[in-house]
């Protein structure tokens, strides 16, 4: 409903204000992306896909409406895993849908559902053609895959944001500040907050040189805890996370580092800290980009042998301006107390086609 309302209003506004020399494409931009993946566990043990599966991972339509020179309505509509509502399979969703008002280059306001600005991957985690590996790093972004069911930050949130960029002392600087409902386990967090405290997300990034970008992120919220029977209680868990990241990229090669640390504060248990890191290196050999990535995640610093790691290496082949073929081997390892991987080491083959246009 949200999207249809936006689309209809924006389309009407666009057509109404477009002068004769303008074309429809000046006011409405249509883009998209998608990916089809394959995973297969090599061996018999581990959490990988034992049978080998094709996953129609997602198909997204990205729409931008520009009714005036100060207003943009942006949205990403997704159909994931071969959405079939009749059978209850897959997922159809609004990844983001927001209204942006341009004040100055340093100050743009946004309202709506937005990706949480945290680290390097969250805003592109569904847009697989934008990164080298088949999936985004688990240690920093999908911690549930490595034994931390509650992630460092929610993928999305509804609320308000300030966004800006410009030059300070000759260096490109960009920032985002989000004030949102945050996460929720019991209500639709894009409609109603289930606690008084609002979530705050901040990220800043500076480009000391054209090849180097350094960033830092911060996220803080709290959410209602569930009782043993699954119903919402009155107590809350506090969550605080921060990260630092850096990307150095030349025409021949690149390096990327990200470190995330976070604290969870349950109402009836001591607070604990956890952390994740990822390091990626790659080369650019024309259309082929070999890459390697190491990830490490510790779900609780106070507990021993609960860590998990992933070492992966692969090739990203650009078949066309818009189409990528990826193939990689992922080696998972963990301590015996890791709640998900249980100390079982295994290797998984992953491949995908990813398209972006």
């Amino acid at each position: 409903m949200f999207c249809r309302l936006f689309a209809a209003a924006s389309l009407a506004a666009s057509v109404a204000v477009a002068p004769a020399y303008a074309q429809l494409g000046d006011k409405i931009k249509i883009n998209g992306y998608g990916s089809v993946e394959f995973e297969k566990l090599l061996g018999d043990e581990g959490r990988g896909d034992k049978t080998g599966s094709f996953d129609s991972d997602g198909l997204d339509l990205v729409l931008n409406f520009l009714p005036t020179d100060r207003v943009r309505v942006g949205m990403d509509l997704t159909w994931e895993h071969g959405t079939a509502t009749e059978s209850g399979f897959g997922n159809a969703a609004v990844e983001y849908g927001f209204i942006e008002y341009y004040g100055t280059d340093w100050l743009k306001g946004r309202a709506g559902k937005m990706f949480t600005p945290f680290g390097l991957y969250n805003e592109i985690h569904t847009a697989k053609p934008l990164f080298l590996a088949v999936k985004e790093p688990s240690a920093t972004d999908r911690t549930d895959r490595l034994g931390s069911p509650i992630r460092f930050f929610p993928r999305w949130a509804s609320g308000l944001a300030l966004v800006g960029q410009g030059r300070l002392s000759g260096r490109e600087v960009e920032y985002q500040v989000h004030f949102t409902n945050g996460d929720s386990l019991v209500t639709n967090p894009f409609e109603k907050d289930d606690n008084v405290a609002k979530a705050v997300a901040v990220r800043a990034r500076v480009h000391p040189t054209g090849a180097l970008a350094l960033g830092a992120s911060f996220y803080d919220d709290s959410f209602v805890e569930l009782l043993a029977d699954g119903t919402p209680g009155t107590s809350e868990t506090g969550r605080l996370s921060w990260s630092v990241d850096g990307v150095w990229e030349t025409k021949r090669a690149g390096v990327e580092l990200e470190y995330v640390s976070g604290r969870l504060s349950p109402s009836a248990a001591p607070s604990f800290w956890r952390f994740g890191l990822e390091a990626t290196v790659w080369a650019k050999l024309g259309r082929v980009r070999p890459y390697a990535r190491y990830e490490y995640h510790d779900p609780n610093r106070d507990e021993g042998d609960d860590q998990a790691s992933v070492l992966l290496g692969g090739l990203n082949l650009r078949l066309d301006d818009t189409l990528f073929l990826k193939a990689e081997l992922d080696r998972f390892d963990s301590g015996p107390h890791n709640s998900r991987l249980k100390g079982v080491a295994y290797t998984e083959f992953k491949a995908s086609f990813a398209v972006g246009f």
């Binding site: 074309q23 943009r72 990403d76 983001y96 805003e123 934008l130 301006d321």
Partner: protein, 145 residues
């Protein structure tokens, strides 16, 4: 044989001059004639095209118009002004667009269409191949380092 060496030097010099002038004249930047600017720094033009800057100094909306990324003039402009190869420019806009950060400038497929757009839009900024005339509603600006 004595005349051969000077001839080579002359030929090399002429060849060098020719390459240099060609490199400088693969495109020219135009604005609407109501725009007070007579020259623009290359860095400013780049930031306008990459949508890092969206206003002229007088507060008017800057509306860059691009040419097809596969055109010769588009490639020369991307390389010389934006400092990007066509592939890098494509990847830049793919990331900006798909992540929801920003959208690229509008595009026209010929010099004629670019001139028409810039003539009609007071805040417009475009680029053309060298040569040919432009109507009085449009003017060429010098791009400085």
């Amino acid at each position: 044989m004595r005349h051969v060496a000077p001839a080579f030097v002359l030929l090399a010099a002429l060849s060098s001059v020719d390459r240099s002038s060609l490199a400088q004249e693969k495109y020219r930047v135009i604005v609407n004639s109501t725009n007070p600017a007579s020259e623009l720094k290359r860095d400013v033009v780049a930031r306008l095209y990459l949508r890092k800057l969206r206003r002229w100094p007088d507060g008017k909306a800057a509306v860059p118009v691009d040419q097809s990324a596969t055109s010769a003039v588009g490639a020369a402009f991307a390389r010389d002004v934006l400092g990007l190869s066509l592939g890098e420019l494509r990847d830049y806009w793919l990331k900006q667009t798909l992540s929801g950060a920003a959208v690229p400038p509008t595009t026209r497929s010929s010099d004629h269409d670019v001139i028409e757009f810039v003539a009609a839009e007071p805040g417009a900024l475009g680029y053309l191949q060298v040569g040919g005339s432009v109507p009085p509603e449009v003017k060429t600006v010098k791009v400085t380092p």
